[in-house]
């Protein structure tokens, strides 16, 4: 049941961690491109106890995967608190609200509101997109279900209303850079409880972004989790630097990744050296994030590399995770 004692909005573990003033840590769990629940259980077992909650992506990069409601429920049963991601690409306001009701009834307590990657990137580029609402409006809608006890149309919810801890995303490096802190402020105004940023590799530029956010006082209205992630190979670093719109990977990071495996002939040893460097950079970034005013935690995106998360957490000195009432949300 929802723990709304102490004035909790949702009673989720993530909410409790942030409320207690702990540096929060979330990770990411990508559902499979099939109907095998065992995949979720295996990934959840890796992350359980090492993070405060894990995002369950919603048809990430517009590729069909197990739904975030379904996969999130399995993660919850496996003892890992999910953050259900929800995009505006595939459902209209009816579909989104009905899924929110179902997800809440199944025990999910966190939701991350997103616009969604455009379907041309995915495996069904022929499909029709929806975008009935945008991510800002989705935040307002989920907050309204909780705080106004009514559906988006204004109709009262009779009976149990879904009480989620509501998140949104922001890309500090998206353009126009000057507008991003204000847009973050709009998401706070819409009622977001927490923000997870896109992957950050350019820390000085993120620091500049956060300075502006702090000057606006937005960090006091919403908990900001900085997005970090371990690089696996120099190629991945180069790809993100050169090919992914809105990503800012400094040359220095690419060079460090290139240097790691240089001169190593053995393939396995080379891969291990690359991974070690990626994890080291990630740990350093987490340390830097902890020093930045207004940063309430980190969101570790180790895509299809969940095993890296416990190692990063250990090296970053972020273990053990806080627990509440004798048991963690995990």
């Amino acid at each position: 049941m929802t723990d709304t004692s102490n004035g909790y909005k949702s009673g989720s573990n993530l909410e409790k961690v942030l409320r207690a003033g702990n540096f929060a840590v979330t990770a990411e769990l990508g559902p499979p491109k099939n109907a095998d629940g065992e995949v979720i259980r295996k990934k959840a077992a890796i992350l359980k106890g090492f993070v405060d909650a894990a995002n369950i992506t919603d048809n990430q990069t517009a590729i069909v995967r197990m739904s975030s409601v379904g996969a999130g429920t399995i993660a919850l049963q496996a003892g890992l608190e999910p953050v259900m991601q929800m995009t505006c690409r595939d459902r209209n306001r009816l579909g989104m609200q009905s899924d929110l009701l179902g997800a809440y009834a199944l025990g999910l307590r966190n939701v991350l509101c997103l616009s969604g990657d455009h379907q041309t990137f995915g495996n069904h580029p022929q499909s029709k997109n929806v975008h009935d609402m945008d991510s800002m409006q989705l935040v307002q809608m989920v907050v309204g279900l909780r705080d106004k006890n009514c559906f988006q149309c204004g109709e009262e919810i009779k009976g149990v209303n879904p009480r989620f801890f509501v998140g949104a995303a922001e890309n500090p490096f998206g353009d126009p850079f000057d507008f991003r802190p204000y847009r973050l402020g709009k998401k706070a105004k819409a009622g977001a409880d927490f923000i997870q940023t896109q992957l950050i590799y350019n820390v000085p530029k993120f620091r500049e972004f956060m300075k502006r956010v702090v000057d606006l006082g937005v960090h006091k209205q919403v908990s900001i989790l900085a997005g970090v992630g371990p690089l696996k190979t120099p190629g991945a670093a180069k790809y993100m630097r050169d090919q992914v719109p809105g990503m800012d990977v400094p040359d220095e990071i690419v060079e460090r990744m290139e240097a790691a495996g240089k001169g190593i002939e053995d393939k396995k040893a080379k891969a291990a050296a690359n991974k070690e460097a990626g994890i080291k950079i990630c740990v350093e970034m987490i340390q830097q994030m902890r020093e930045i005013e207004g940063v309430a935690g980190v969101h570790i995106m180790a895509i299809e590399w969940e095993e890296a998360v416990p190692i990063i957490m250990e090296k970053a000195g972020l273990l053990p995770r806080p627990t509440f009432n004798g048991s963690s949300g995990n």
Binding site: C88, R89, R93, S115, G116, D117, H118, T120, F121, N129, H131, D132, M133, D134, S135, M136, Q137, Q140, M141, Q152, A169, E170, N171, G174, D175, P176, F179, Y182, R183, G185, K186, K189, A190, Q198, P245, G246
Partner: protein, 228 residues
């Protein structure tokens, strides 16, 4: 204007099938201006069809006529006899023109020669771009005269999304980010305060989502007796 493009010749020939007598009907308005279905294009397509069907050994009798506006009954009434003589009418109008012909002449087999693409404008010679999605509730007053419904790939009302990079949309570097344009325009005009408010969800009933649309202007309607 409505911007259209001609279908590939092979597809057009497929639509015509075995018909011996073909009437190509061009339109003198939007599709003339965008060089897709005016008098000139009707003439060229007619010649192409005559030549290629002759070479293939089943020559078609292809005629052409262009009306000023294919989307209004009165212009279509003038070609009644030509339509009656044809086995197939190949419309080079937009989707509205094709349907106007089909409605006015219920017995005629009308097929489209164009793909109607969008409502837009020419940016330069040979380049057209979409500008309006006919959502039925214009919000250009809030967005510096730049439409996020027609021009943002995700139709965001509170953009830009995280994929906006150096003025371009993440979907395709050929697409300008509508929200970057909106931001730049409002900034230049000292009206950035418009972007600080959250735009509420759109009421899509005025768009196609509310079902096929129709406008009735009682002030313009004729008394019943005069209609006849």
């Amino acid at each position: 204007m409505i911007v259209a493009e001609q279908k590939p010749l092979e597809e057009i020939k497929g639509l015509l099938g075995e018909a011996g007598r073909v009437l190509i009907v061009g339109c003198g308005t939007c599709v003339t201006v965008c060089f897709a279905g005016g008098e000139k294009e009707a003439g060229i397509l007619g010649s192409l069809l005559r030549m290629s069907t002759k070479m293939e050994g089943h020559a078609k009798d292809v005629g052409e006529v262009t009306v000023q506006r294919q989307c209004e009954w009165e212009y279509l009434d003038a070609i009644r006899d030509r339509v009656a003589e044809a086995d197939v009418v190949l419309s080079l109008g937009c989707g509205v023109g094709v349907q106007a012909l089909a409605e006015r002449y219920p017995n005629a087999v009308v097929v489209p020669g164009l793909n109607t693409k969008f409502m837009g404008l020419p940016l330069e010679q040979g380049v057209w771009a979409e500008r309006c999605a006919a959502c039925g509730q214009c919000l250009l007053g809030l967005t510096g005269g730049i439409c996020p419904i027609a021009r943002c790939s995700k139709q965001l009302l509170n953009g830009p999304c995280g994929g906006s990079s150096q003025g371009k949309c993440e979907v395709n570097p050929d697409i300008e980010c509508a929200w970057q344009l909106i931001y730049d325009k409002l900034k230049a005009q000292g009206r950035l305060h418009l972007l600080m408010e959250i735009t509420p969800p759109k009421d899509w009933r005025t768009s196609r989502d509310g079902g096929p649309r129709k406008i009735v202007r009682e002030d313009l309607r004729l008394p019943v007796a005069e209609k006849a």
